[in-house]
């Protein structure tokens, strides 16, 4: 297979003395959706923050199109084409919906291109066009998630990092948003790294998946293979084998949905 567009090798990041991710290696190929699954506290957000330059890694490398980007300032990394759609939407509450979207294009100078992409985003999320002049803080959770994704798209990313877009949304909304995520990937060719606790919907959407537990990658395979695996099925079906004694802690976690 060709060289991955984003390649993370042996990454380690700390909060003070606490190691949050331990030797994580992940590859994302152009045009793919790669998901990283893991329970609450596994280190998924830390991984994304380290890739987008919000945190600096202690060890390891991150390459975008072969160029090493670890330790760069976030604005440098955005300019190189990695945009992070953060956990919990993080919109600008008092700015209008359209101003929020245009802040996604902060690092761009091609006005015509930005206009085009704005219309493209409005095409995928018509509700954002209806509410373009409204303050983002007045939107519902689902609408704010759409706004956060749309804002990320306006950066014209080579790789979009999506942190738990399903968080706190109704199953219907989750379905709607993931349908659009899939369409963005197939129709617009947006490459994505999608971090989720909701394994089912993530594996339905992604091409490839990793499973993360306490800061480490413990599984890695094509999405359909992972979806069919017994361990994964146990998690999201909530089934637990009787007499299970294994030391692999991720097998016992019940926080999966």
């Amino acid at each position: 297979m060709s060289e991955p567009i984003l390649r993370v090798d042996n990454l380690e990041s700390y909060y003070g003395p606490v190691m949050a991710i331990r030797g994580v290696s992940v590859e994302v190929h152009e045009g793919q959706i790669v998901t990283v699954l893991g329970a609450n506290g596994a280190g998924k957000t830390t991984l994304l923050k380290t890739i987008s330059g919000i945190m600096d890694p202690e060890k390891g490398t991150i390459h975008l199109e072969g160029e090493s980007i670890q330790g760069m300032e976030p604005d440098q990394i955005v300019r190189r084409g990695v945009i992070h759609v953060p956990e919990g939407r993080e919109v600008f509450p008092l700015l209008s919906v359209e101003e929020n979207l245009l802040m996604g294009a902060y690092t761009r100078n091609d006005k015509a291109g930005v206009r085009n992409d704005l219309e493209m985003v409005y095409g995928y999320f018509p509700i954002l066009k209806d509410k373009a002049r409204q303050a983002a803080g007045t939107l519902s959770g689902g609408q704010q998630q759409m706004l956060a994704i749309g804002r990320g798209l306006l950066a014209k990313p080579k790789v979009m990092l999506l942190d738990e877009p399903s968080l706190g949304l109704s199953p219907l909304l989750v379905k709607e948003i993931f349908t659009i995520i899939k369409r963005l990937n197939t129709e617009q060719g947006v490459t994505m790294m999608l971090v989720e606790q909701n394994a089912k919907v993530a594996l339905d959407t992604a091409h490839h998946g990793y499973v993360m537990e306490i800061g480490r990658i413990v599984m890695n395979d094509k999405a359909p293979v992972l979806a069919a695996s017994k361990d994964i099925q146990e998690f999201y079906l909530g089934v637990q084998e009787a007499g299970e004694r294994t030391q692999k802690r991720w097998k016992k976690r019940k926080t999966w949905r």
Binding site: S52, I54, E73, P74, D75, I77, V78, R79, I83, H84, V85, P86, G88, E90, V91, F92, P93, L94, L95, E99, N100, L102, M103, G104, Y106, T107, G137, L139, G141, Q144, R151, A155
Partner: protein, 291 residues
């Protein structure tokens, strides 16, 4: 003095308070800390202008001295952040506040060393001229203060609402983390807000000094302007101007009708009343950061 003249001179004073108060608000919105050197930045701006244009000093033409002063004070604001305040990142806001108080002392000291402690007046082409219409005589300097303040307020409105940098400044103050995620260089944006507040302080200083004398202690006016900012709601630029105008108007009218002692107390009396009955100020935006 006739009531209209009282009104105009009160408005002019209020505009100066309002401009200093806007400086407080700019910094408060960007960093959630109060810059207690704001009044001293105004004083320093006034002295820089005086030093550039007065006959006794550099004697540059007024129209050259003014933009130069604004540029210098913008640079002072930028450097205050880039060199000093940025280093307090991650520390408590008390640390920032104490640092700004210390910077204020330094500015007063520097101004005293360079320009002395005697009150001086800015040699402005506006000083001492009058405008007459009907039977009313108004000081040109006071009318000028009001006109410039209105123009500056409108200009700032358009800057914040319409320019990419202005919206990015708002974005960084509303959700700093998200601003980082969008690739906004938040630290530089902060420094630019400080530059803007330095420029506004320079304009306030020039306006103040063109209608009265200044000395290094003039910066203590900042306390009154801080009261104005709180009255307007610390997070609101129009509120700051409104708060300044309220104080500017209350002072001369209460001095006239209630006597001097009470008049000096009035700004703080209003501050206390606002804090009790409308603790977020008159025009505050009460916001929920995360929804």
């Amino acid at each position: 003095m006739d009531a209209l003249q009282l009104l105009v001179s009160g408005l002019a004073n209020g505009c100066v308070y309002g401009l200093i108060a806007m400086g407080f608000v700019l910094i408060y919105k960007a960093t959630e800390a109060v810059n207690f050197a704001q009044g001293d930045m105004m004083m320093l701006g006034a002295f820089v202008a005086l030093g550039l244009t007065n006959e006794h000093y550099a004697h540059l033409p007024f129209v050259v001295a003014v933009p130069l002063t604004i540029l210098i004070m913008a640079a002072v604001g930028y450097l205050m952040d880039a060199v000093l305040l940025r280093r307090t990142f991650g520390q408590s806001q008390i640390a920032v506040v104490i640092l700004t108080i210390a910077i204020g002392f330094v500015f007063r000291f520097v101004a005293g060393v360079i320009w002395g402690h005697e009150p001086q007046s800015l040699e402005s082409p506006l000083a001492g001229r009058d405008i007459r219409f009907g039977g009313v005589v108004l000081g040109l300097d006071e009318v000028f203060v009001i006109v410039v303040t209105i123009a500056l307020t409108v200009g700032m409105y358009f800057f914040f609402a319409r320019t990419k940098m202005g919206v990015a400044m708002q974005a960084s103050s509303q959700n700093q983390m998200a601003a980082y995620y969008m690739g906004i260089p938040v630290k530089r944006v902060h420094s630019l807000v400080w530059a803007l507040s330095g420029a506004v302080a320079a304009i306030a200083g020039i306006l103040f000094a063109s209608k009265g004398s200044i000395d290094p202690a003039t910066g203590f006016l900042g306390i009154k302007a801080f009261a104005a900012a709180v009255i307007g709601g610390l997070g609101s630029l129009p509120g700051a101007l409104l708060g300044g105008i309220i104080i500017g108007l209350v002072e001369p009218f209460s001095a006239r009708y209630l006597g001097g002692d009470l008049a000096r107390l009035m700004p703080y009396l209003i501050l206390v009343l606002i804090l009790v009955f409308r603790p977020h100020g008159i025009l505050s935006q009460v916001q929920a950061k995360k929804v």
